[in-house]
């Protein structure tokens, strides 16, 4: 952890970085001189304020949040089961490897378009978030399982430690860093794909829906405002996730 002086200088660097970015944005918008192509930072801020007070904004924000979290938890649940099975069985791992590799290599847009054909609009973002996060979680859990210290498992076997306690005290703590890494990546990805799916699937409420509607009306400042909302969503859930992991580590 950096010292108080270190933290202060880090904060200074971040403020300077943000101010430089805003200045550059301002200069670019003045040079373009077209709010449709690039609105100024103050116009965007004004539009964000309007959006925050607009009817339905919080419902849209909440709808995206619920979709992302649902997809994320589904990917954790199934990724964990699949990861444990694949980690334990070479046959299972090799059987599912082509499937996981294919999903990871398929363009997100292709998955969204197929999901649009297969599912109702409300389900598409959840399915895509799940499908994008699931291989990441599975791969990381498999890595974690393979990294479990076999010598500790042997010790547990010799001392006849019950299987559930072996899992709780030997296996889970070993795979936890891998699971946390995978979950963190999946969570970050989840917001990007949920918003992208909403843009294409157009559910009644959602950040992506709002973004697409603003784009159709050429309200670029509003597109920026929705983007800001997506950024806040992603950043806040990441922070909450990190906080939970920290608490869990302390409890363990």
């Amino acid at each position: 952890m950096p010292s108080p002086e270190g933290r202060r200088s880090l904060l200074t660097i971040r403020i300077v970085s943000l101010c430089s970015f805003l200045l550059l944005w301002k200069l670019a918008s003045q040079w373009m001189d077209s709010p449709i192509i690039l609105p100024s930072p103050e116009d965007t801020l004004k539009e964000t304020w309007i959006l925050l007070n607009a009817r339905g904004f919080y419902q849209s924000f909440g709808a995206t949040l619920v979709r992302g979290i649902t997809g994320f938890f589904l990917s954790i649940l199934l990724g964990l089961c699949m990861g444990i099975l694949s980690g334990k069985s070479y046959l299972f791992r090799e059987f599912f490897r082509p499937f996981l590799t294919s999903v990871q290599s398929t363009p997100v847009l292709a998955i969204i378009l197929l999901a649009l054909i297969w599912f109702p609009t409300e389900t598409v973002p959840v399915f895509v978030a799940f499908l994008m996060g699931f291989p990441i979680i599975t791969t990381n859990v498999v890595e974690g399982i393979l990294a479990v210290d076999r010598r500790l498992i042997e010790m547990a076997k010799v001392y006849r430690i019950e299987p559930w306690r072996r899992i709780l005290y030997v296996v889970l703590p070993s795979i936890l860093p891998y699971l946390v890494g995978g979950a963190s990546s999946a969570l970050g990805l989840s917001w990007r794909v949920v918003v992208a799916s909403e843009v294409l699937s157009q559910p009644i409420l959602g950040i992506g829906t709002g973004m697409q509607e603003a784009k159709l009306r050429l309200e670029t400042a509003r597109v920026f405002a929705w983007t800001l909302a997506a950024l806040v969503l992603s950043y806040s859930t990441e922070s909450i996730f990190r906080w939970i992991v920290k608490r869990l580590k302390r409890l363990a």
Partner: protein, 250 residues
């Protein structure tokens, strides 16, 4: 409890470690397997612990297969769980049906026997090498096993600490004598600990010589003349058999 290996065969791939290997380990005594590194000593212990299964022949402890008995295995690398405290490492092997306070009492009393009452809340990486081994010894003792297996348990420790741990081991054993198989490649250690010493050849393992230790337990201390004489005798046997000793002794 009589421990017996009969015509055991075991190979790792194409490398045969044991081929029709037979040995009997007397009940309630300490039998030392003495031999050069890589001669299959740990494989024998792993067979007795039920961690390996013989490809032919049989392993019996008492009248049971090894998986049916309680084994207190003190591994060469001890194998404490790094993210659990000493207390939780020891508690893990106790039956959870016992009340917590009863379990804690047993843990405390065993740690007292090895002089580590103060280490209860320490994590393995906070222990010194000697403390780490003592916790391993405490765990094996706490388990109340039918059979002790000790794999080079004091290897790499400086001599005063090694002898301190050896006498601690003898004291624990005198509290509750159990059949013990002790693996080492150190002749002096073998003579200080063993009631019977089996000198092993390089792989495929065979017993080259069996020595019944005539020195009473209470006299088995470094510097004892009889121990020194036997050490010379065993060392000569090693040379005669053209065995390569562990690096420490060469």
């Amino acid at each position: 409890m009589r421990v017996e290996l009969e015509s055991v065969r075991f190979a790792y791939g194409s490398v045969t470690i044991l081929d029709r290997f037979s040995a009997q380990f007397p009940s309630m005594k300490v039998t030392v397997l003495l031999g050069p590194s890589g001669c299959g000593k740990t494989t024998i212990l792993n067979l007795l612990a039920g961690l390996l299964t013989p490809q032919a022949g049989s392993v019996r402890v008492g009248d049971k297969p090894p998986t049916d008995i309680r084994v207190g295995y003190m591994f060469q690398d001890v194998r404490l769980i790094p993210w659990l405290t000493v207390k939780r490492n020891l508690d893990l092997i106790l039956p959870q049906r016992l009340p917590l306070e009863a379990r804690l009492d047993r843990i405390r009393s065993v740690l007292r026997l090895v002089g580590l009452e103060q280490a209860l809340s320490l994590f393995p990486d906070q222990l010194s090498g000697g403390m780490y081994r003592r916790v391993g010894m405490a765990r094996a003792y706490l388990y109340e096993p039918d059979l002790y297996l000790m794999d080079e348990s004091f290897q790499g420790l400086d001599p005063p600490l090694k002898f301190q741990l050896l006498s601690m081991f003898q004291q624990l054993r005198s509290n509750s004598p159990k059949t013990t198989i002790f693996v080492t490649h150190d002749i002096e250690e073998a003579l200080l600990v063993g009631d019977e010493i089996l000198l092993l050849s390089p792989i495929p393992t065979r017993i080259v010589h069996t020595l019944r230790n005539p020195v009473p337990i209470e006299d088995r201390v470094p510097g004892n003349q009889e121990i020194a004489r036997l050490e010379g005798e065993l060392f000569t046997l090693f040379r005669k058999e053209q065995l390569q000793l562990g690096e420490e002794r060469v």
